[in-house]
Amino acid sequence: MKRLKICFGMLVLLLALSSVGAQDVTTVSMWFGESEYAQCITEVVNGFNDVNPALQIEIIPQADTWNTTRTAVAGGGGPDVVRSPGPSFVYEMAQQGLILPLDSFADEMGWRDTFVGWALDLGLVDGQLYSLADELETLVMYYNKTLFEANGWTPPDTMDELIALAEEMEAAGIVPFSHGNADWRPTNEWFVGEFMTQIAGPHNVYKALTGQIPWTDESMVEAMETLDMMQQRGWFGGGLDLYFTNTFDTNLSMLGNGEAAMNIEGTWRFNGIPDYFGEAGGNDNDWDWAPVPSKTGDDLFTIGMGNTSSINANTPHPQETATFLTWFFSAETQGAMLSNCGKGPAPIHLPEDAMVGLDSRVSRAYAALSEASADDRYGYTTWTFWPPKSDVYIYEEVERVWTGEITVMDYLEGLNELFAEELAAGDIPPIPSR
């Protein structure tokens, strides 16, 4: 009987201890897209879990992360770390009180020193910080290096040189740009934003975004007419109807096998482009990248954010979530995710040694982007800096310009009208001042 009592007592003690242990562990959840690097990021985060037994991070892959997140958060649930596709989405959530202001955490945890100067401004809503920018991206001009060398071509510096080179390629039976939007219709906006920055200039785009000049400014007209000219001549994918049916796979295959020579796309493509060249692509070609040529010849880079991170207003663990975000946005973690997973880094001060083991072409791109943002040579991607209605208008209605339904001026007047409404309503995402 005595033995039984001892056993029972030990069992009670064991249960009590285990429940105390369970209570001590805080779990912070983060939903991540089912992308090619989601598993890799989980492994990186597991490194955090291993050394922090009291704070465990649960990465939950979601097929349609943003739509799942917005529904869950609006219903009072969702993950502790709320990720969104960009500042304009954060704006809506902050307005509704669905995410927490982060200013006190930024001061307490040194985020103002971690991020580059303009980056925290992207997360401001009515003067308060609500999100941390992640996945810094820009557009570059990928090109088939082997094809260029065989034809004695060099990457052009100016827009005029680019047009002359494209004419030469066209004459040689080579499609100048392997572009198409069949997989992702907003692909259109890459080119609209890029041509506005490269031809109208980032300062004019800044003025238009802040309401100082209209979108019908002649510099914008010139940018859009140049883009339209390229589409009409079939330089994007081999013809307008082909542009509308080319998938990403087709685009990259064309670039890899030399059917096309160049491709303007985001730095996210560093992750997949090697699959289309050399042995992996079934050819003997190699690739490289160059800045997208500008009108002036300056190396300009449009800045975009692939994601933002915020803290759910309903989380029971705001402090722990902020602690995790501090680790997540540290140079060491961002460097590991860039080197190991190919995920674009957050706009933080990233030392060169954090990019050890990275393809030199990739590290060169991020170094150039960092330099450009410091030298006032940065422009704006539409999905990061335009308000939602104007953004959708940009990529939907530009097709009507290309198909000849409306003129460039009609398009820009429509944009101007819609943008003015959103500007008056205060719906413009934060634009870092320059």
């Binding site: 739509n67 917005r70 609006a74 809506e92 959530m93 307005q95 509704q96 009180g97 669905l98 939007n181 069949a182 219709r185 013809g239 307008l240 109807d241 082909l242 542009y243 509308f244 049916t245 080319n246 998938t247 087709t250 939602p388 209605k389 959708v392 939907e396 097709e399 009507r400 290309w402 198909t403 339904e405």
Partner: protein
């Protein structure tokens, strides 16, 4: 002088409750059926009726689609939709084109093949299965298959152009404004018509063979048999499917979204794709809800036509 019959009449509910026969009938005919249906009814109220009422209310508001900041604006969304939104008319026209396509092409195909298959005595199941398989494929799979088949670079057209050396086969059907919508309808129909055919075939097999024998004795040919025996025999299912397809035409979304997202240049835009963009991309949840209500009104109108016809004696 007339006298009132002295028969006891149970007038009140409490009086009735004392009547054992009435109580038994009430429990058996009213209470138990309602108890059986109660779980389903509760679910329906919570997941259909209440959200539907909420949707109608949201259509009268300025709501971003996120959070609880909702401003009542009356009929402003409907005014904008019907009188100011230039793209709405185009989308509605595309919905009607879609409906015209689906009320003709799959019905003709299904009727024709069901009639042929109903004559087959051996191996009919194999044919039926083959024709039905596309229906069980997910829309994502179907669109991926057809996007490749219709690709002007690596699809059937490109292969034929390469084989024959004749140019013109490699047309980008999904990339041209004039062909995009009908190409998507063709792809959706490839998946859908087998289902319709199976329904018609089942209905045809339920027609008593004696009717065909009688028609033959009367000297009817194949066409007359089809017209006077088969068609009347399958009329209830035919008209029911006609109504359903007309309603579904206003809900068309997945194939269009997966293949063109309404492009090129809005040429394949329908109300449902517009609704999605407004509600989830432009943050105009209230306006999107108004579009949803308009779709429901069209569906209700179609149902009303059929209910009216039924009341007038049509066998639907």
């Amino acid at each position: 002088m007339a006298t009132i019959p002295q028969k006891k009449i149970a007038t009140g509910f409490l009086d009735r409750l004392t009547d054992e026969t009435w109580r038994y009938k009430f429990t058996r005919n009213v209470l138990i059926p309602w108890l059986f249906i109660l779980p389903l009814l509760s679910i329906h109220v919570f997941v259909v009726a209440i959200p539907a009422v909420q949707g109608i209310y949201m259509s009268l508001t300025d709501w971003s689609g996120v959070g609880r900041n909702v401003e009542f604006i009356g009929l402003a969304n409907y005014q904008e939709l019907l009188f100011e939104d230039e793209t709405f008319g185009k989308s509605l026209t595309n919905n009607f084109i879609w409906m015209a396509f689906f009320l003709t092409v799959p019905f003709i195909l299904a009727l024709f093949c069901a009639t042929l298959l109903s004559q087959i005595k051996r191996g009919g199941m194999a044919y039926r299965s083959m024709l039905f398989i596309p229906y069980v494929l997910a829309s994502v799979v179907t669109t991926a298959i057809w996007r490749n088949l219709l690709s002007p670079r690596k699809g059937i057209g490109a292969a034929m152009a390469n084989l024959t050396g004749i140019e013109g086969f490699d047309i980008a059907y999904l990339g041209r404004s004039e062909t995009a919508l009908l190409s998507i309808a063709f792809i959706d129909n490839w998946h859908f018509w087998g289902f319709l055919m199976i329904l018609f075939l089942a209905a045809m097999q339920a027609i008593p063979p004696v009717l065909y024998d009688a028609a033959k004795i009367d000297g009817a040919n194949r066409w007359q048999e089809f017209r006077h025996v088969t068609l009347p025999g399958i009329r209830p299912i035919f008209l029911f499917m006609f109504m359903m397809v007309a309603i579904w035409s206003f809900l068309a979304f997945d194939y269009i979204w997966l293949l063109t997202q309404g492009g090129p240049g809005g040429s394949s835009e329908v109300i449902a794709t517009q609704l999605y963009k407004n509600a989830f991309l432009r943050f105009e949840g209230g306006y999107g809800a108004a579009q949803g209500v308009v779709i429901s009104i069209f569906a209700g109108f179609i149902i009303m036509i059929f209910v009216t016809l039924r009341r007038r004696g049509w066998d639907i």
